[in-house]
């Protein structure tokens, strides 16, 4: 069939940040296909230089409002690594709890407010208020509960306050633990309904095999906060060798850099984690996976959203166990950290370099800092999940378009928008974090 189609999605909606999809089909053949990043750069890495490394988490969490807690945790890990600070067991547990809250909050936003409207055939959640009021109410309630969990633990979800280098500037009371546990139990019920709802919805069918990359480790738990970098092609390297993984390169049609490891592209995110670490998921999460008809290795990128649902079940269950664990141990309030830029000299300073590698909602996030003997940042680099996914998304589109070329322009556009959305791209994050600067 010879046919000309031009698709220009100017400002992709229901994603975080500004991106465009440009597709040109000429005489029935794919002529051009690109995902453009048009967000204004903010130059975080440049202006971190000259600031105290103790300020890095406060500043870098402002790269992104949605994964603010994730940036905070990666930043803290990199800074503590550079300074040689070892977190206590209590701190580590609370950070794992915070990361669970982050995954939950972001996943629920994505599953319900960003993806569900497509599956239900409407442009946003607003029309759903009329047609699916209970679904909207449940989504908003779950979102509120996640926010309240973060409020209790770290003051707020968007730009957490009390998670700092060295530990926490505020520690939860017994009553706080009780409240958080109660909210997680509430979420558990809503999550069951969520699984039921999404099991009844149809996701587009499309498969393309790729290399899935994420943290792996030898411990029993599903790795989110610590690990080496592994891939479904069987490779494993230390986080310090992240540059071996990301191999940034430039494509002629886009100024933003791309990444690849052993194949033309790779993918990070919930689906990558699911494929890499399925065995370590909580039994209830595995039950949810069965109900949702997803199993590893799943190579349908649209099902990243489904993997997020499975992970949400896991995070709720594991967060509950962490709280029960902390409860039994009792909280040591002597560990409260006095924050700020180490004005009181609580931590010995040294010149150094550190790497933080954390699984945030959209995938593997790396922060890498260098500081001098006064703790002043001299070099900074961040590798953002969305940057790692961009090339993979584009290759998905190249593979998908010929398969759906006989459909209407609207249908092709929707299929492509849904594909990009499935990756839950965070374009605000990706744009200013493109180059590798520390050699």
């Amino acid at each position: 069939m010879s046919r000309n189609v031009n698709i220009n999605v100017n400002y992709l909606t229901r994603v975080e940040g500004h991106g465009n999809i440009v597709v040109k089909i000429k005489d029935g053949k794919l002529d051009e296909c690109k995902l453009e990043i048009v967000e204004s750069p903010r130059f975080f890495e440049a202006f971190l230089r000259g600031r105290s490394i103790f300020e890095a988490p406060h500043i870098t969490c402002r790269i992104c409002g949605i994964c603010s807690c994730g940036h905070t945790l990666a930043s803290i890990q990199a800074a503590e690594d550079a300074l040689g600070i070892k977190p206590t067991e209590q701190t580590t547990l609370l950070r794992k709890l915070l990361l669970h809250y982050e995954e939950l909050d972001s996943h629920i936003l994505h599953i319900y407010l960003l993806v569900a409207p497509d599956l239900l055939g409407v442009p946003s959640f607003v029309p759903l208020v009329k047609s699916h009021l209970n679904v909207v109410k449940r989504a908003l309630k779950m979102k509120r509960l996640c926010n309240e969990l973060c409020d209790i633990l770290v003051g707020r979800h968007v730009h957490p306050i009390s998670a700092v280098i060295g530990g926490f500037s505020k520690l939860p009371s017994t009553q706080d633990l009780e409240q958080m546990h109660g909210k997680l139990v509430e979420l558990e019920k809503d999550m069951e309904d969520t699984v039921e709802l999404f099991a009844s919805l149809r996701f587009p069918e499309f498969e393309r095999d790729t290399e899935y990359v994420g943290l792996i480790n030898d411990e029993k738990e599903y790795p989110l906060l610590y690990g080496d970098i592994g891939s479904t092609d069987g490779y494993r390297v230390s986080k310090y060798d992240y540059k071996v993984v990301v191999n940034e390169f430039v494509v002629p049609h886009a100024s933003a850099k791309r990444t690849k490891w052993h194949r033309e592209s790779y993918a990070v995110g919930a689906l990558a984690r699911f494929n890499l670490n399925y065995e370590k998921l909580h039994p209830k999460a595995k039950e949810a996976a069965t109900a949702l008809n997803i199993k590893p290795k799943c190579i349908n990128p649209y099902l990243n959203t489904v993997a997020q649902i499975v992970e949400s079940v896991h995070c709720i269950e594991d967060a509950k166990s962490i709280i029960e664990n902390i409860w039994q141990k009792g909280i040591n309030y002597d560990e409260i950290v006095i924050p700020d830029i180490n004005q009181k000299g609580a931590f010995p300073l040294r010149a150094g370099e550190g790497v933080g590698a954390v699984e945030v909602p959209r995938g593997l996030l790396i922060h890498h800092y260098e500081c001098d003997e006064r703790g002043i940042i001299t070099g900074a680099n961040c590798v953002i999940p969305t940057n790692q996914n961009t090339h993979n998304i584009e290759l998905d589109m190249v593979d998908l378009i010929p398969k759906i070329m006989d459909k209407s322009e609207e249908e092709i556009t929707l299929a492509l928008e849904m594909l990009v959305r499935a990756y839950d791209p965070c374009i605000s994050c990706s744009v200013h974090m493109i180059d590798l600067r520390i050699d």
Binding site: E16, G65, F125, D340
Partner: protein, 248 residues
């Protein structure tokens, strides 16, 4: 009477302030009951070609394209609101202004920096007229709702001109200076209910400097605790660097 048409637009920012609105939980339903949200790209695909009764602008103005875009939005908007620190005072984006822009560009993007033309970061009011300011990084939801009510009733909203210390005292926090730390509370606009200090951290000054800060009092505090003034300038710059564009 039809519901007022409200839109949210984002410029250079983290989109966390819009998220604070989406994070209102079930209250979002009450919100869409009284206003007609016609554009909100982060969570909606709907677009609107007509005029806006109220436009919320999140983010700073950091390139020429943004200057033109915000001017167009201003033309189409009866009321324009700067939402969050990036919009009201330039916020963390302002730190860029301390650097040579070409050098900063090269540092992040290497030779590809030319693909990312940039200008000195500006707050929204440094480009177009702003009718209401909602400070904070991120915005404090109770204040957002207060301002929204004022807008809908046609009343002005006055950002508190007293410092964060006033709210902090009411919350009975131990003063950070007494804990040996330098806090921006004494010179930062209140309205956040001393959010950060309540959670054991210092104030970083995200809501902007008070219009008439008690400089002498503040210098006395710094002297009492032996803190050099230039040390403090670095702290002020974290959020308030763009203020010098107001003064020039």
């Amino acid at each position: 009477m039809s519901k007022p048409k409200v839109a949210f637009f984002d410029f250079a920012c983290c989109e966390g302030c819009q998220l604070q609105v989406a994070n209102l939980g079930e209250m979002v339903l009450d919100l869409i009951d009284i206003v007609d949200i016609v554009e909100f790209r982060e969570v909606m695909s709907e677009k609107w070609d007509g005029e806006f009764d109220v436009s919320f602008i999140e983010g700073s103005i950091t390139d020429e394209h943004a200057v033109e875009r915000v001017k167009k939005i201003r033309e189409k908007s009866k009321i324009l609101v700067a939402l969050g620190s990036c919009a009201t005072i330039g916020g963390v984006n302002g730190m860029k202004n301390s650097f040579n822009l070409e050098e900063a560009g090269r540092y992040v993007y290497g030779e590809a920096y030319k693909f990312f033309p940039t200008i000195h970061t500006k707050a929204v009011h440094q480009v177009v007229r702003v009718d209401y300011f909602i400070n904070g990084c991120p915005i404090y939801q109770p204040e957002f709702l207060t301002v929204l009510k004022c807008i809908l009733k046609g009343l002005p909203y006055y950002v508190p001109e007293y410092p964060v210390c006033v709210e902090c005292k009411l919350n009975e926090n131990v003063c950070m200076y007494d804990r040996g730390l330098t806090c921006m509370g004494p010179v930062t606009k209140a309205g956040c209910n001393s959010w950060c200090i309540n959670n054991g951290n210092i104030c970083y000054g995200c809501r902007g400097l008070t219009i008439n800060p008690n400089s002498q009092g503040f210098k006395d505090v710094l002297k009492k605790f032996g803190i050099p003034e230039d040390f403090l300038m670095k702290k002020i710059e974290m959020y308030n660097k763009c203020k010098e564009l107001d003064e020039s």
